[in-house]
């Protein structure tokens, strides 16, 4: 199902872990959608000196996280801001169509981490990250259509944008 590049990054993910006292942290996704990703940045002279990730998700989500960190490492903040989800998917030489939403998490997490870094630098640190509690039943949260990436309400059964059914249940 996955190509060799994706499987390589899944089997041997690069830059896994946490950076203590990170200069920027970005977290996206929630377990309802199937993936959660956290990106940690260490920035020196406006350049990403170190980057690490933690991911809860499928093979594609892990590979995307790994590839994203490889692309972003060493880049200047302004360069890193320009990294798109498509860049990550391209570097992985493609993802199965219904997994493209996984690649969207990667760049989003990076951009949130950069935002966090810039807020801190400007002296207005964001409120501490609230990690989502996964033990409880979650009933709200936003998801994106796995096929066309339109934002959907949780519980949506049909994507109007691409006319595809999103449910297996009754």
């Amino acid at each position: 199902m996955y190509n060799k590049v994706v499987m390589d990054h899944f089997r041997n993910p690069r830059n896994v872990g946490v950076i203590e006292n990170a200069d920027g942290v970005g977290e996206v996704g929630n377990p309802i959608c199937g993936d959660m990703m956290t990106i940690y940045l260490k920035v020196k002279d406006e350049r990403i000196e170190d980057i690490k990730f933690q991911t809860f998700g499928c093979g594609s989500a892990i590979a995307v996280s790994s590839m994203l960190t490889e692309i972003a490492r060493g880049k200047s903040i302004s360069e890193a801001k320009k990294i798109t989800n498509q860049d990550v998917a391209n570097a992985l030489e493609g993802l199965p169509k219904n997994k493209l939403h996984c690649s969207n998490l990667g760049a989003d997490a990076l951009h949130l981490a950069i935002e966090d870094y810039e807020s801190k630098k400007a002296g207005k640190p964001r409120s501490p990250l609230k990690r989502k509690e996964t033990h409880e039943h979650q009933t709200e949260g936003k998801c994106h259509c796995p096929y066309c990436d339109v934002e959907l309400e949780e519980g949506a059964q049909f994507c109007e944008a691409c006319q595809r059914s999103l449910v297996e249940e009754h």
Binding site: Q54, F56, Q138, S165, E169, H170
Partner: protein
Amino acid sequence: MPIINLDHISSNPLMPEVKEAMIAAIAADYHNPSSQHRAGEAAAAVLEQSRETVAALIHAANPKEVVFTSGGTESVNHAVKGVMLANTKKGRHVVISNIEHNAVIRSVRRLKGLGYQVTSLDVDAKGCVNPADVAAAITDETILVSIMHSNNETGTIQPIEEIAEITRKKKVIFHTDAVDSVGVVPIDVQSLGVDLLSFAANSFYGPTGVGGLYIRQGTNVWPLLDGGTQENNKRAGAENLIGIIGMAKAAEIARQKLPERMAYLKRLKSRLINALPGYIDDYIINTPENSLPNLVSLSLRYIEGESVMLMLDDEGMAVSTRSACASGSLRASHVLLSIGLSHADAQGTLVITLGIDNTEADIDAFLKALQKVVKTLRDISPLYQKA
């Protein structure tokens, strides 16, 4: 690398005896059982002999109550749509449960589009339907109740006899999808009291692409396929005799060896469940006591099932996952949400299904591989808080 199959619910290997019987059937080059010449009659004799053998596995009163189909999906579609379409004079209401297989769910969804009414019942935390809920759901308009015999994700065995008592009293037709039960646990259609029962040959080490539908004599059901008069006018199309011969051989062996197989599978299942705490923590077993002897549903917290499945594949283990990410729909399993699992826990759920070809060494190898994979993925997971 040899692959250890712990995904028997997706595919069981053919028994060597079944392979032999099918190869002999190919060599015999049977004619069409519906033809009236001698070549056709020879084929018809083999077909009816196979029907007797298969009927014996489910203890049907009359072999003619068994209709051969192309497998579990066709049997279920035939039962649900065939009964609903044939009985519209009485009503248009069907009762199912929230944990039915998609063959049932999508069949009734299609009927709903044609103006039929569907009531889908909740299950308890063990994945069990409450017979009282079935009784309460039945109205004067109800023509069919369809509740599965055992669930393919949790292994839960449903109180089919009790439900059948209710449907009999209320004069409603009762179908049970027993695809994962027939040939795995004892099934007696007469003592169960069902009107229709779906099953498939691959569940008992027969070929894929062949199954059966038990239709109690006198049950009003339309064919799903119209055409010739095969299968006592219940299923048109020349029979898949090679597959049916394979199914009959598998049924014959399953009937003889059922107690032995059950005891063996139960032993492997206990070995797996009992040893788990020595290898991993933070998991949930979703399989209750009264369940299939070959199925373990295991939710691994803080990690996602497709990743686990892919990494276990690298370790030479085939398992199935109920993760949304691994399904085409990217939605959490309706069965696991129905028994009350959170989305995150449903995401990390494996369905391990054992077979008679598994050994104790397979279980031990699986536990070691699982320990390694769980650790690797939890080290990556932002949800896992290290103690």
